[in-house]
């Protein structure tokens, strides 16, 4: 365990992000998730919606469609056009964010879309548009994977035909220690972040981005941990959908991480 601590030191972190006993600042072990709450079907107007709280992330996802495509020239004759906007509310971060979309938001909107499209049976909805709106009300580490997790629930809630759900988790490095699900502090002061989104039943990866410096071994370890944790969160997604469709009222699925 000393190694972990040294690693964190070597990386120049101002605080020890992991202590001598391998416990992180918020009390988690290296491979634990932050608390996650999921609610499906929370918005009145949207055709489908889901709300996620994950650590300090508070994110609303909503879906409209299939609907007519405007402007017409964007119509895809053989499948649906999936649009996606990931957007951060001005009050979602420590310093007020300009409401106009930043370059970061534009890139994240793109990778979220690319992670969702393979899960949607787009060929069932030719010549239509499906719109996915992801609004980050409060931001913490891992907001893009949380957004994907909520967005795929919102698609399911909208009754869109899907091949699988999409679920994301971000793993990374503190020093040389692979850890799961970095929070904001660990993301900023840690040594690497690797957001991954998967289709758990199909065993496919729809999003993969990497920040930080990983040995080949740590790369694999973090990547496989992200998939493993993604599968855990998938169970929460299923639970949330079940409650939505069979449990009557929209309810909160709140699964606290057990001991590993």
């Amino acid at each position: 365990m000393k190694k972990l601590w040294e690693g964190a030191q070597l990386a120049g972190s101002k605080r020890k992000l992991i202590d001598e006993n391998g416990i992180r600042l918020d009390g988690r072990k290296w491979n634990e998730l932050r608390p996650i709450k999921l609610q499906v079907g929370v918005m009145k107007n949207a055709d489908g919606s889901a709300y996620i709280e994950w650590g300090k992330n508070k994110i609303m996802a909503a879906v409209y469609g299939p609907k007519e495509v405007h402007p017409k020239h964007q119509v895809l004759p053989d499948r649906a056009l999936l649009r996606c906007r990931y957007h951060m509310a001005p009050f979602s971060v420590d310093e007020r964010k300009n409401p106009a979309p930043s370059r970061r938001e534009i890139e994240i909107s793109k990778v979220i879309r690319e992670a969702l499209v393979p899960a949607v049976v787009v060929e069932d909805y030719p010549r239509t548009a499906i719109e996915v709106w992801v609004e980050v009300l409060q931001s913490d580490g891992g907001s893009r994977v949380a957004g994907i997790t909520a967005a795929s629930l919102a698609l399911a809630d909208a009754g869109i035909n899907m091949r699988d759900l999409v679920v994301g988790c971000s793993c990374g490095l503190i020093g040389e220690q692979v850890v799961s699900d970095l929070d904001d502090t660990e993301d900023k002061e840690g040594n690497g972040d690797m957001p991954v989104a998967i289709m758990p039943n199909l065993g496919q990866v729809g999003l993969l981005q990497v920040d930080g410096v990983y040995t080949r071994e740590n790369f694999q370890k973090a990547f496989e941990l992200a998939i493993e944790k993604g599968k855990e969160i998938y169970l929460m997604q299923r639970e949330a959908l079940t409650r939505r469709f069979f449990g009557g009222e929209a309810q909160t699925t709140e699964v606290e991480e057990g001991a590993e």
């Binding site: 918005m43 009145k44 949207a46 508070k58 979602s92 971060v93 409401p99 609004e135």
Partner: protein, 270 residues
């Protein structure tokens, strides 16, 4: 087919609505001067200095306050800065769109801002730190999450609730420099402005129109009152007119309804 059906349903609903209104009743069984159920939840965005989630029927708005130091405007060197902004999220309705703020969103933000500013809800003089150099700047951003009519009131209640519960750092001046302390103090709130929006459908005035009523209304007027029942802001809307009598009638309704809502906001933000 389905559009035709909708059209027929809509026409029938509208006829029904007008007939009911003639008898002083509304489709959702509210009295003409009865707003929908108002729910206020504060502190929903802990990262903000103040925040509130307001639902007015199915209309939902989240407001968040961010406070920082800034440079005063040249013409008000001894006053803080207050800015209210609003985005009608594309997720909020099938008609909302992504992109730069629409004319409607700009009007919404400016009318909400006016109600706060003109009522002198926030004592801007107390937000001055070093006159002409450093003042406290208060940004209130509103996310319209779901649209079911009457964005003006829902947004206004969200902003007022967020401001009433906002906490800011206490600043001290040392050697002509502003220093932030660890102490948190409330934003200096002097009054609680309450916006009441009234729609005219046929010849009846109804308070707090929902989306269905807005689709049938031909005129909208928003009147904001302060703690003393004084009128501090108003905005007539829609491409139509109002009679002078209706303006005065709307003012009286706003004062009356506003009083009840003010009590509710104060209760929810203590």
């Amino acid at each position: 087919m389905s559009m035709m059906k909708n059209y027929v349903v809509e026409t029938i609903r509208k006829a029904q609505m007008v007939q009911l209104l003639a008898n002083g009743k509304r489709l959702d069984e509210r009295a003409l001067d009865q707003p929908r159920e108002l729910k206020i939840e504060t502190g929903v965005i802990p990262k903000a200095n103040g925040s509130a989630r307001v639902t007015l029927g199915n209309t939902e708005v989240i407001a968040g306050v961010k406070i920082a130091t800034g440079i005063p405007f040249p013409d008000t060197p001894d006053k803080g800065i207050l800015m209210v902004n609003a985005e009608i999220l594309p997720m909020s309705s099938p008609y909302a769109e992504a992109g730069p703020p629409s004319e409607d969103a700009i009007e919404l933000a400016r009318v909400t801002d006016r109600g706060i500013r003109e009522s002198e809800m926030v004592d801007m003089g107390k937000l001055s730190l070093i006159p002409g150099k450093t003042v406290i700047a208060v940004f209130v951003d509103c996310n319209v999450m779901n649209v079911d009519g009457n964005l003006f009131d829902a947004t206004s209640y969200a902003v007022v609730s967020a401001l009433r519960t906002a906490k800011m750092k206490k600043y001290v001046i040392k050697d002509d420099k502003v220093e932030a302390t660890d102490e948190l103090i409330p934003v200096p709130v002097e009054t609680t402005p309450v916006s009441v929006t009234i729609a005219r459908i046929g010849d009846r005035l109804v308070v707090d129109p929902n989306a269905e009523e807005e689709a049938s209304m031909d005129m909208r007027i928003t009147i904001t009152t302060d703690d003393n029942g004084n009128i501090c802001a108003s905005q007539k809307g829609e491409a139509s007119t109002i009679t002078p009598e209706q303006v005065l009638q709307a003012a009286d309704v706003s004062i009356k309804v506003g009083k009840a809502i003010r009590a509710q906001i104060i209760e929810a933000t203590k």
